[in-house]
Symmetry: C2
Subunit: 339 residues, 2 copies
């Protein structure tokens, strides 16, 4: 078998290695596909070296088939198509006790804090698996993880049919949040500056706005009769996003902070007071979000295939990261690990 | 009759004037008492001169007795003790249509945008009145308006019995939020730097902390078994308050922004993501908050009398504003308008 090891800033090596036999309550999965996440790109750029104990196998947006089961595993069998929900929680911290295991205060995010899925064979605890329906497309199934993020964001954002939603930032997660919100019956304005992504959004029936060419605030006010948006998703992680997000919601409107902001941002707290705006941060997903994402992928109802701009074999992973880091015309690149 | 006119920065004049006869659907109230609000102090300091069209009679934390009723007023009669909920909404904006009349997009806040209660006789529309129970103490009744603010904040903050709450800032509103949250069964840590207020808080059975002398974050973690607070009210309006407010909540904990921040503040949005923190702004009150505040004042259950640090006649209003502006040992000063 082969694995891709992150070796420090912008460096990977692909090496032969020995499959790890599953221990009690573990399974070994033959990985089919694994997408490159924005977080993987942060790792690649060296921004997370304090957290990632390299050399490390990263990657967590995967699909695969069970190849071997350890003792005690009864819910899964060899040949089952599965995805991994890559969160190992401690079970003992206040967050776990409160039922918020997905944001455990000692969370082990598999593929960052421990080995991940950019390898042909991945051994994981069985309790992080979700079984897939038969005949699901395994390429599409590699989108279940980021789609589950979007399902979580839209669920906590309490998006209802006929609501007017603004999504700031049209990367993979912003795009998925947009199409999930749209599938709930919301009208979605997507704010994005990249022409390739704006064009893609248009094809999805979203309402794309380039805020460098158009006054986003006025556009949203015009579209909402002066009320403002019901909900605003900040997915850009940009200073300008943090600035405009408070201008857009209606009275008692909601802001959902999806993006990761490494530094504190100037935020207009007066606007929160003035319009009684609500904001919540959302992070990863809970099991029910995975189940929703699986149903959505299996149904074929969303235009997910168009989000995939390349599929490359594991050997070309370094090149795939380079393209994603430099080309404005990529959105989601999948690594084919079936080798 | 007499009225106090704000004349520009730190200047009031007390003048004789003619009572304004109530028109259709209006009443004239003989004002009993009117408290000086933090907003009145902002006006006094000249910070709101663009909004306040002076000379202006300000003041809105009042109690009084109906002296005269206009045509069409049936729900109120001469002699009724009342308080005014000083919000005149337009009824036509998106906020009003959405049922958020208290934060109408064209709100007329009586006592700021139009004449207020620092006068012996005040004529207002009958639809902003709340009737008081007989024999209520009219000094205490002047606290109903700020108490309704606190009831609104605690209601929207969804404070439950046995929750651990932190209130940042122990001015009149912070103190009222603290004792209302406490009356719901919450344990309240009050962060404040003024020794007079810390001492007062101690007398109320709150848990006062001076963050310049003690590590507030560590204190809250110790008191919550490492979990963090269920809810944090930011009532200080300070940069340090905006900084610490995101450090204190538990996973999915709530921040309630009560304070008015004139400028955007650096806010740790990463923490919102990391702990899925929720935040909401709260502003003024709705009718049900007034009704709750009236019941609380009438019941005598809260130690409200101790919040009143002076009662001064209308003629001494300029002196009262001077004391409140300069002395650290004042909390709420009432103006006796009964002349």
């Amino acid at each position: 078998m082969k694995a891709a090891y992150y070796q420090g800033t912008k460096s990977f090596s692909i090496k032969d290695c020995i499959p790890q036999q599953p221990r009690t309550d573990e399974v070994r999965i033959d990985v089919s596909h694994c997408g490159i996440c924005g977080t993987d790109l942060h790792v690649y750029r060296g921004h997370m070296d304090e957290r990632v104990n390299f050399p490390q196998i990263i990657g967590h947006e995967m699909s695969g088939v069970i190849a071997e089961v350890g003792k005690g595993v009864e819910a899964f069998a060899i040949g089952d198509p599965v995805v991994v929900r890559p969160l190992a929680s401690c079970g003992n911290c206040p967050a776990c006790h409160a039922g918020h295991r997905h944001i455990c205060q000692n969370l082990n995010f598999m593929g960052i804090d421990s080995p991940g899925a950019f390898q042909t064979s991945w051994t994981v605890p069985a309790d992080v698996l979700h079984k897939l329906p038969p005949n699901i497309d395994m390429k599409m199934a590699a989108l279940i993880e980021p789609l589950a993020v979007a399902c979580h964001d839209v669920r906590l954002g309490q998006i209802q049919a006929d609501e007017k939603v603004v999504v700031i930032g049209g990367g993979p997660i912003g795009m998925l949040v947009s199409i999930v919100a749209q599938s709930k019956g919301a009208t979605v304005i997507l704010s994005e500056i990249n022409p390739f992504r704006l064009n893609l959004a248009k094809g999805f029936g979203l309402d794309p706005v380039n805020p460098t060419q158009q006054d986003l605030l006025r556009y949203v006010e015009d579209k909402t009769g002066g009320a403002g948006a019901d909900a605003v998703f900040e997915v850009s992680g940009s200073e300008s996003g943090a600035e405009v997000m408070t201008e857009l919601p209606r009275t008692r409107g909601r802001i959902i902070v999806v993006a990761i902001f490494p530094e504190p941002q100037p935020v207009d707290l007066f606007r929160f007071f003035w319009r009684e705006i609500q904001m919540r941060g959302t992070r990863v997903y809970e099991p029910e979000d995975y189940e929703e994402a699986i149903v959505l992928v299996a149904s074929g109802a969303l235009p997910l295939e168009k989000l995939i701009t390349a599929v490359q074999p594991l050997e070309e992973l370094p090149e795939a990261f380079r393209s994603l880091d430099t080309s404005p015309n990529h959105l989601k690149i999948l690594i084919d690990c079936s080798g």
